[in-house]
Symmetry: C2
Subunit: 277 residues, 2 copies
Amino acid sequence: MSAKRIAFLGPPGTFSEEAALHYDSSAQLLPFASVAAVAAAVDSGMAEEGVVAIENSIEGSVTDTLDILIHESRLSIRRELVLPVGHCLLVRPGMQTADVKVILSHPQALGQCRRFVERCFPKAEIVAALSTAAAVEDMVGRENAAAIATRRAAELYSAEILAHDIQDRSDNLTRFVVLAESDHPPTGNDKTSLAFSFADDRPGLLVSVLQEFSSRDINLTKVESRPTKERLGEYIFLLDLAGHRSEGPVAEALEGIKAQSSLFRIFGSYPRYTSSA
Amino acid sequence: MSAKRIAFLGPPGTFSEEAALHYDSSAQLLPFASVAAVAAAVDSGMAEEGVVAIENSIEGSVTDTLDILIHESRLSIRRELVLPVGHCLLVRPGMQTADVKVILSHPQALGQCRRFVERCFPKAEIVAALSTAAAVEDMVGRENAAAIATRRAAELYSAEILAHDIQDRSDNLTRFVVLAESDHPPTGNDKTSLAFSFADDRPGLLVSVLQEFSSRDINLTKVESRPTKERLGEYIFLLDLAGHRSEGPVAEALEGIKAQSSLFRIFGSYPRYTSSA
């Protein structure tokens, strides 16, 4: 049997690759340049599954991923993965701390290490890159540059680790989701993700939807909103809840919401991540 | 009387500068390198007010601004401004469309013009910059580069406009807020922004808070969540509502929420933006 093909946000050395390896170390990993491209790879059959970041404990939602789930892709969430993210400051071999004049990284990583950068490199120029690994690629070709990236990127690009675990909080976690053609059967300890919006903005509508859950003692693990992209001030709401969409009370609550919504999409039900799994 | 000093996210040529000029064309405008620096400039008295973007109709919240309001600044929101954002594709004078191999801009602007870029420049390398004006600065020093930025940046940097209004939707609006020491007195047509969180995550808490508004017929114009930065899955909720914090029903609802919250902060009450104002 050939190995499963898993698409991830590349190049090699990103945290998405780390997550994909953690999820299935025997899979064939295929790097793509954007979250949209990862989704398209799964949509088109180039890969069976795609691993993308959806949320970080410091920086919040990865809005690219949310927007693609809402607007562009019909894929489901089959799994979630929660991994600690330890950022390192990488330089070309032999370079000293005093030589660092420019620091490159993905905006999410720069945000997660803001205090370290402000304290240790108050005069450094901060430059955004499209991924942490792309930052290392850029760094290699520049004078006086350092990059914030993974330990694995240091190996892949023969860079030196000048500092490790430089994120503002040591318990920095990122949640990834595995996108696939279908979601996951019930396991008894599941979560469900969905999106909905309303055709009008009467004050009570969101409350009425949330009551579908609170009245059935269903716990919401995430509440988020994204713009509809059509009019400023119109939102699509995203919820994560405890339970599987096939379970009685959850199924009832979802039917109740569907009846009140203009847009309604269940991204999928999947096992709640536990570090022992 | 000397002119009011207004801090904005620089360098000159950004949309924040456009918003600040629109707000008060006689003010002395002071550019700062980050939203945090704009807030610090007002906190420390270097400027009386600061203009920062808070939300875009395509890309959603500006999370930097939200996080600084929640975690770092004691400033209030005194005003909101809603402006159309027309993006242009800028190049060095004389450069042709076929020469464009690299496109630089702020990630928000890249997101707002994603479809244009994918259709017209499918092979171009996309490079992130810290602001749209910084992208133009970078562009000037590079071969085969174009930048997505304002019409004003084209003037300031003597660049040529290759294409205009390239955003994915023509009705692309950005909402800015004016930060100051105090918020605004009631005008009869106001909004109030606040943040709150709970010490535990019982299913009914958010519903109970939202009922404080729906039971008083107070309309919520925005609901958003941000991570507490302490634990994945713990959120701070942000609401905008119609009304001034000094009005009876709004004041009652706010007292009710305060009693149920662990964190509770009112960012301020301010006149609802109308384009004729």
